[in-house]
């Protein structure tokens, strides 16, 4: 049939966009490392690099979990609070004499439960993600403070607290944890059908539903993964500082969201990757680290971070508009 309606001027395929963004961010990270290496002697020391990798590791894991949620066009404001809360839980369990392996599993399950609660609030109660996770943000801090009676629980388990200081093959264990999370996360988001479903739900949940996607289950899944990543970070933090304290990790949810957004995730949903937020988290960590080394006032660090978010996301928007 020769119905030659003019071929609409569809844009060229944008296969490379994700990869391109990844490369740009990687370039930015490399440039930062190079510049800091040239301007301070302290940067390229094994101690500092290990420190940097440890600093970035926890935000990176939070950001990956957060990205799953943002891809569904949701938001998880509770992750910082979950980190603080679960650090209390694991300290409490260890103090009560629960074996280490059981404490870890129970803490992670606590993350699963919190995520499932978020899913319940969104799917069954019809609450906006912003509201339900904001509510758990404040409540979890409160529950954590109640458990500890406003103070901290110190952890006397040597093996647990030493873990964060150990290296494996010359790389900090905490950074290995990022890889441990990132590889399954990559498989899940980019290679499995559930990853596709996250994107579909974030793009148009009704179309996804009518295509047989279990939208409710997908939403549960996203929030459970995010909260479980946060609980995992809670374990790492408890190991690093050796205490359980509900007020720890204040504002980390914003760090995680910022990392994710810098990494190319769209807050409108349906756009995002695993490598993006990882790079975003380490860019933020490098800026903080570099600012410390250069003796920049820590107040300035916050300002710089804010400006950086604007600049990076603005350039991403420009590129997207150009490609449409």
């Amino acid at each position: 049939m020769s119905v030659d309606t003019t071929t609409e001027s569809a844009p060229a395929p944008k296969r490379g966009r994700n990869i391109l963004l990844g490369l740009t961010l990687f370039g930015l990270l490399a440039a930062l490392w190079l510049a800091l290496g040239l301007s301070t002697n302290a940067f390229w020391t094994p101690g500092n690099i290990s420190n940097l990798l440890r600093q970035g590791a926890m935000t990176a894991i939070l950001a990956v979990g957060q990205t799953f949620v943002i891809i569904t066009a949701g938001i998880d404001l509770s992750v910082g609070a979950i980190v603080g809360f679960t650090s209390v839980i694991v300290a409490w369990l260890l103090q009560a004499g629960v074996p280490l392996w059981a404490s870890i599993i129970l803490t992670l399950l606590m993350g699963v439960a919190i995520g499932a609660f978020h899913g319940f609030g969104i799917v069954r109660m019809g609450l906006p993600p912003f509201i339900i996770t904001l509510a758990t943000l404040t409540s979890l801090r409160g529950i954590g403070l109640l458990i500890t009676n406003g103070s901290t629980i110190s952890i006397n388990h040597e093996g647990f607290t030493n873990f964060s200081r150990t290296d494996f093959l010359g790389v900090p264990s905490l950074f290995w944890m990022v890889i441990l999370v990132a590889i399954p996360a990559f498989v899940f988001l980019h290679l499995s059908r559930f990853g596709r479903y996250l994107f579909a739900v974030g793009s148009n949940s009704e179309a996804a539903r009518l295509s047989g996607v279990n939208v409710n289950r997908t939403i549960y899944l996203a929030y459970i993964l995010s909260a479980t990543c946060a609980a995992f970070v809670g374990l790492l933090l408890a190991s690093r500082i050796g205490i359980g304290n509900a007020t720890q990790a204040e504002g980390w949810e914003l760090q995680a969201i910022a990392s994710s957004v810098i990494g190319g995730t769209s807050l409108f949903g349906a756009v995002g990757s695993v490598h993006g937020p990882l790079l975003g988290a380490f860019i933020l960590a490098t800026i903080n680290n570099g600012a410390n080394l250069l003796n920049v006032n820590s107040f300035w660090q916050r300002i710089i971070t804010g400006l950086l978010i604007i600049v990076i996301v603005y350039f991403d928007q420009l590129r997207r508009r150009g490609s449409r």
Binding site: E8, V187, S192, R193
Partner: protein, 515 residues
């Protein structure tokens, strides 16, 4: 003087009053107007004259250049070459502001108003009545109500816009444009989502504006509307202006021939397929929006559901598909009694639904075409948790090829496609799923004649494979010509049934409206 005219005179003191032309004289002349995107010539040099106080229809397939022309006229894009004369003087029309200041306005298919504001607030948006810097809410409501009453719309000015149907919102958008003292008003497929009554109200308004000397450009795929409304009609094909006719000197056959070089019989091409055993049978099925619907779909058969929008056809389809809970009644699938509590059950049985709204229900617009096509079948394309990349690509490529979806790649976003190609993506989703019963809800809304013919041909293919089709449409010629059995819905109930081409158009219409 009517309240509409009073309000529109609020704007008459502006500069545009200066350049008036007598009724019937050329108000807007396009001479060799051309638009290129890179190497693609979206509009080949076109010379068209619009007369003051005429209704000028523009017809053509999707991609024929209609949207390009509208965008040029409203200043959304700038021309590559050619000249535009407004009231005899050359003008730029480089920005939307310039177009609006000259009195050129467009009413779009998708309503662009604020759902959370009242009807009155929307009508006065950007042009509020003020006194001492405070808005005169009461006065605006009163004035808006007067205009609405005057137009016979029977809409409450104080109601929230979001509480109205899409059709009613469209009427508000038109009333708003009419209030702004326009000289030249472009309608882009305005009736796509309107019920018959709403269309009639809109037509009354359009004629009235014409009688006041406003020039109307009316773009539509619906031939009967063009003949009902227009004074003259221009045809575009492949970016070329192929002719302008006085409406009295042309007919549907000639226009279609100009548009696509094919006849009506060739468009509504109906395959003769032997009708087999029942695939699905509903008995007194009731649910939200439909009641006591009993019908049967056999293999090789197209069952048409005709009715006004809101008559319960789409609701019935969603109920059958498990999207809406069914209250009572029974569903038999190939003779077996079944329950369909959710969409996946329907899919597992072998039901496919191409829903009414591509934008809201059919497509994930900001995702690639390939992902959209594969969405229902990712389970089949996966080994364990992981998707087999090769099969994923192959399945998408095959649908794109078979359905002739015009795209350079399966990775292009669905939003970049035209209406017709988007509809093909929705259909492609279900071809790979291998369903036995296909429900097509308004499959040809906003789709050009050529793509329509392709979609109808596809129906034939599906029937030959032994599938059954439920075809829901508000476009009577389509269901009338294609259905082996035609059911008419009114007020949520199935009120009449016809065999293929039994009963006249008028009969069916009367049954649907209920007079």
């Amino acid at each position: 003087m009517s309240s509409l005219e009073e309000l529109s005179h609020r704007h008459d003191d502006q500069a545009k009053r200066a350049d008036t032309v007598p009724r019937g004289a050329a108000i807007l002349e396009l001479r060799g107007l051309q638009k290129k995107y890179g190497l693609v010539e979206a509009l080949k040099p076109a010379t068209v004259t619009f007369l003051a106080g005429e209704i000028h229809a523009i017809v053509g397939e999707n991609g024929a250049g209609k949207s390009t022309l509208i965008k040029l006229l409203t200043g959304v894009i700038t021309r590559t070459a050619g000249e535009v004369f407004w009231c005899g003087k050359p003008v730029q029309l480089a920005t939307p502001t310039e177009a609006i200041s000259r009195g050129i306005n467009a009413v779009h298919q998708e309503v662009v108003l604020c759902a959370h504001l009242s009807v009155a607030a929307n009508m006065f948006l950007g042009d509020e009545m003020n006194r001492y810097g405070m808005m005169r809410k009461g006065a605006m409501e009163k004035a808006a109500q007067a205009v609405l009453d005057d137009l016979g719309f029977q809409l409450p000015a104080a109601a929230l816009l979001g509480s109205l149907t899409i059709g009613q919102q469209q009427l508000v958008a038109t009333a708003k444009a009419a209030m702004r003292g326009i000289r030249f008003l472009i309608f882009d497929e305005p009736t796509a989502y309107l019920t018959r009554q709403e269309s009639a109200q809109l037509f009354r308004l359009i004629r009235r504006l014409r009688d006041q000397g406003v020039t109307i450009v009316y773009i539509s795929h619906r031939m009967e509307e063009v003949f009902e409304l227009a004074d003259r009609v221009s045809v575009l094909r492949d970016g070329t202006h192929v002719g302008t006719r006085l409406i009295g000197e042309t007919n549907e056959t000639e226009l279609i021939a100009l548009m696509i070089n094919r006849t009506i019989e060739q468009i509504y091409h109906k395959e003769k397929v032997a009708i087999g055993k029942p695939i699905v049978e509903t008995k007194s099925l009731s649910g939200p929006g439909f009641e006591d619907v009993s019908l049967t779909v056999r293999s090789g058969e197209i069952v048409g559901l005709y009715g006004l929008i809101g008559a319960g056809r789409s609701e019935f389809a969603l109920g059958l598909y498990g999207r809406q809970p069914v209250k009572s009644g029974e569903i038999y699938w190939e003779g077996q009694k079944v329950e369909i509590p959710h969409e996946r059950k329907a899919m597992d049985l072998g039901i496919a639904l191409a829903p009414e709204s591509r934008r809201d229900q059919g497509l994930c617009l900001n995702l690639p075409i390939g992902l959209n096509i594969n969405l229902p079948v990712f389970k089949r394309l996966s080994s364990g948790l992981v998707i087999r990349k090769g099969d994923e690509a192959e399945n998408a490529e095959r649908q794109i090829r078979d359905l002739r979806i015009k795209t350079p790649s399966r990775r292009v976003l669905a939003s970049a496609m035209s209406g017709g190609n988007q509809q093909k993506i929705v259909i492609g989703k279900w071809l790979s799923h291998g369903a036995k019963l296909f429900i097509f809800d308004e499959p040809t809304v906003g789709v050009d004649v050529g793509t329509k013919a392709e979609i109808y041909r596809l129906f034939g293919e599906l029937l030959k494979r032994g599938a059954g089709i439920i075809l829901i449409s508000s476009y009577l010629p389509e269901v009338y010509e294609l259905s082996d059995r035609l059911h008419v819905f009114r007020g949520g109930r199935l009120v009449a049934s016809h065999d293929h081409r039994a009963g006249t158009h008028e009969d069916v219409l009367t049954q649907a409206i209920g007079i």
